[in-house]
Amino acid sequence: MGILDRIFGNHWGVHPDDRKRPAADLPLRRLPMPAHLYVPLQQHIGAPARPVVLVGQRVLKGQLIAEAQGATSAAIHAPSSGTVSAVGEITAPHASGLPVPGITIACDGEDRWLEAADIPADPFALEPAEISRRIAAAGVVGMGGATFPSALKLTLGKKSGISTLIINGGECEPYLSCDDRVMRDFAVDVVDGIRLMLHASGATTALVGIEDNKPEAIAAMKQAAASFPEIRVCPVPARYPMGSEKHLFSALTGKEVPADARTTDLGVLVHNVGTAAAVHDAIRNGRPLVERIVTLNGGAWRAPGNVVVPVGMLVSDLIAVAELKEQPARLIMGGPMMGTLLPSAIVPVVKGSSGVLALTAAEAADGDAQPCIRCSSCVRACPVGLLPLEMSARIRNEDYAGAVDLGLKDCIACGCCAYVCPSRIPLVQYFGHAKGELAARDRTKLRNDATKRLVAARAERLERETKEKAEAAARRKAERAKQKAAEAAAAAAGAQADSETTA
């Protein structure tokens, strides 16, 4: 940080109490397989996958049950062996509690893997495109929570000329330690996954950014990467939201991503450490992404820690085996800063679920909103450089255009502003509301424009038709007149002939 930045206070983000330990230090646990798994068909950004199994069909763990549909989509595999018991709808792990299409599997308890075929002896001999194809076939998506199909990202990266791969091991959200655990327990796999992604994307170096509150993970990763000079492990200061793609990029490169560009435009591709481990599993073991490490944390869990959970396991089944010691005030999927409030526990864990937090009332820190005292804590906390207090004042008055002028569209919804607000104003709620309103307005405008176009086209068509009709009528009239004239002429000629003959 430069001296000018110090004087003008251009620091960003917050330093929340991370509350990662003791959960982060406990060994990884495996839970007994539940009786049923509820696998949503949309666990990624893009189109939902298309089911390729029928009700009653036997499936093995890792067998394809729904294939990617369209360019941006991801395949879904059976998370355990059993029978397909339903292809229907499942409540989404989202605050709305709306249903999404999904496949239900009745587990047989054997958890038997599909025999992996065609494991390459040396994946580095494969074409980069073939690596990406295999990653896509394994249904790997961004494990940091954004769940963008990883293979697509690598392919797009290859096209736009990537030189550097940034591996996000920031894990800046409080409470969560699933990435920490991946790096500590599977550092060798992560490093192998990084090398495979370097090969697939064409990048020459990889920077692994890890917050310095995870010394064990840094040590494990440094050791695993020691013999690969192209992979550099870079500790970064623990500060939220360090895990934001653009902020980690800036912390590691010292550069800034222009507002209307992506890191790929600057030759940098960002992937999560969990994704690297999933890529390793997909290529080296032929195993698709069917389970993940989930952090159970928060004061209401009896035994917080990290567990390996099959995709599709209900949170209520997690609670049944991992147990709560008290009724939580809030159940959260993800971290406390950006995670989703769960409408109930009857929702499945998905590929992007980093944690299930059961927060007590004291942790959830509920409180009534008070008037803004303009303390500008939010202005200093905002990692993007926005004026949350001014934006929320505009939004309260439904002046969405004013909020956009102040930079609403640059807001990353990280929650720093609401975290520091002494008046406990739900600022993120305001911004989410305004973004939703604006999106609805844009949709309405599109529809209105389309309607307007159709109306205009109809009017034009009607006009054209009337004109054509008139022209046709005029033509017919003219023809009739001509015909009449001809007839008259003929009659006259006949008459003359008659008169001539009579004459």
Binding site: I7, F8, G9, N10, V14, P16, S96, G97, K246, E256, V257, P258, A259, D260, A261, D265, L266, S316, Q327, P328, R330, L331, P336, M337, M338, L341, P343, S344, A345, L357, E363, A364, A365, G367, Q370, P371, C372, I373, R374, S376, V379, R380, V384, G385, L386, L387, L389, E390, L406, G407, D410, A418, Y419, V420, P422, S423, R424, P426, V428, Q429
Partner: protein
């Protein structure tokens, strides 16, 4: 919650909070203000204590009255501590032996006209305590400039609890006996008589007016300057305020004062006298730093503080009043929306004008 039942109201993230609260902030400010206030009580005795209570009570009363008019519950709002703090700051800027009605009118004016008329906490454009102080100064110039020399509680002639109450309620029997001018008032009066500063502030005089232990005439917040500064530094250390406004404001006073004094010591007071006189320290640390009425970026706060300091110096030196902190702060309050408009933080990935950075 029942983990199996569906909750009715979705709550937006974040689901954690840093623990800051409005009343916590106000309490910390009061804690920082307490040492200077208690020391002032000791210096000026019971009349000052009574005046403080009356002013604070009037401020709370004004707030409660307006909340009742608006049909809102008064107690939760009163408990946020902001009205109490407004009354407190006003009391610190009054002459310690001022009559009760000065505190009462001031306290009511501060919360009713200075704050609630604008819509309550966070809505006011001007600092409520300074609005009230200026209103009092313009309406009752004599009462507002009747300073007394300190008469510590433990000294022989100090009024007791009842005598003090009598002084506050009906005025001092012979105020002339104890009255004295403050440094700024004295300097201005002497200069206007044609007596230059070298004579009017020679020797013992300056010691009388510029005692760091506070044994000098002035308001509660003026005399205990060092304790005010200590409280302010404690607030900076606690992260309640930043150093930007106080440093800029004191620099805005001290730099022109030092230049003026170097050019003509007979005409211009030196920087130390300026910084330790009047409400400079109270203003820099506790008044100008009011969240509601100051800019919201660090750069804006530097401009704001500098403006407060420079205007204070200009009013003190060339204006009609010996002291100018209240006027300076109000003038800069009026400029705060403009400063906020012009000095926005730079958005990530964009230049100052809001256009995307070049690739």
């Amino acid at each position: 919650m029942n983990t199996l039942a569906t909750t009715a109201t979705p709550i937006a993230s974040p689901h954690a909070h840093g623990g800051a609260g409005v009343s916590v902030v106000m309490l910390k400010v009061m804690a920082a203000l307490a040492p200077a206030t208690l020391y002032g009580f000791w210096l000026y005795g019971w009349p000052a204590v009574h005046l403080w209570f009356i002013t604070v009570f009037a401020a709370l009363l004004g707030e409660a009255f307006c909340l009742r008019l608006a049909k809102r519950r008064a107690m939760p709002v009163l408990l946020d501590g902001s009205a109490l703090l407004t009354g407190w700051l006003l009391a610190l800027s009054l002459p310690p032996w001022a009559p009760w009605w000065l505190g009462a009118v001031g306290g009511l004016f501060a919360t009713v006209v200075g704050k609630q008329v604008f819509g309550g906490l966070g809505q006011n454009l001007f600092n409520p305590a300074m609005v009230a102080r200026v209103a009092l100064l313009i309406s009752f110039p004599v009462a507002m400039t009747a300073w007394v020399a300190p008469l510590p509680l433990t000294s022989a002639g100090a009024p007791g609890f009842l005598d003090g109450l009598l002084i506050t309620l009906s005025g001092a029997a012979n105020l002339d006996a104890v009255s004295s001018a403050s440094l700024l008032g004295h300097a201005k009066a002497e200069l206007s008589r044609g007596v230059d500063l070298l004579q009017s502030l020679s020797g013992d005089h300056l010691a009388h007016f510029l005692s760091y232990s506070g044994a000098r005439p002035g308001s509660l917040g003026e005399t205990a300057g060092l304790l005010i500064a200590a409280g302010g530094i404690a607030m900076i250390a606690m992260g309640i305020i930043s150093w930007h406004i106080p440093a800029a404001m004191l620099a805005g006073i001290a730099i022109p004062a030092a230049i003026g004094h170097a050019v003509d010591p007979a005409r211009y007071l030196d920087a130390t006298a300026h910084v330790f006189s009047g409400a400079a320290l109270l203003g820099a640390f506790f008044i100008a730093t009011d969240y509601v009425t100051s800019p919201n970026t660090r750069a804006g706060q530097l401009v704001f503080g500098l403006g407060c300091g420079l205007l204070t110096y200009v009013i003190r030196t060339w204006g009609g009043y010996p002291e100018g902190v209240a006027f300076a702060v109000l003038l800069m309050n009026a400029l705060t929306p403009a400063i906020d408009r012009l000095m926005k933080p730079r958005i990530y990935g964009r230049n100052r004008k809001g256009a995307s950075l070049p690739l």
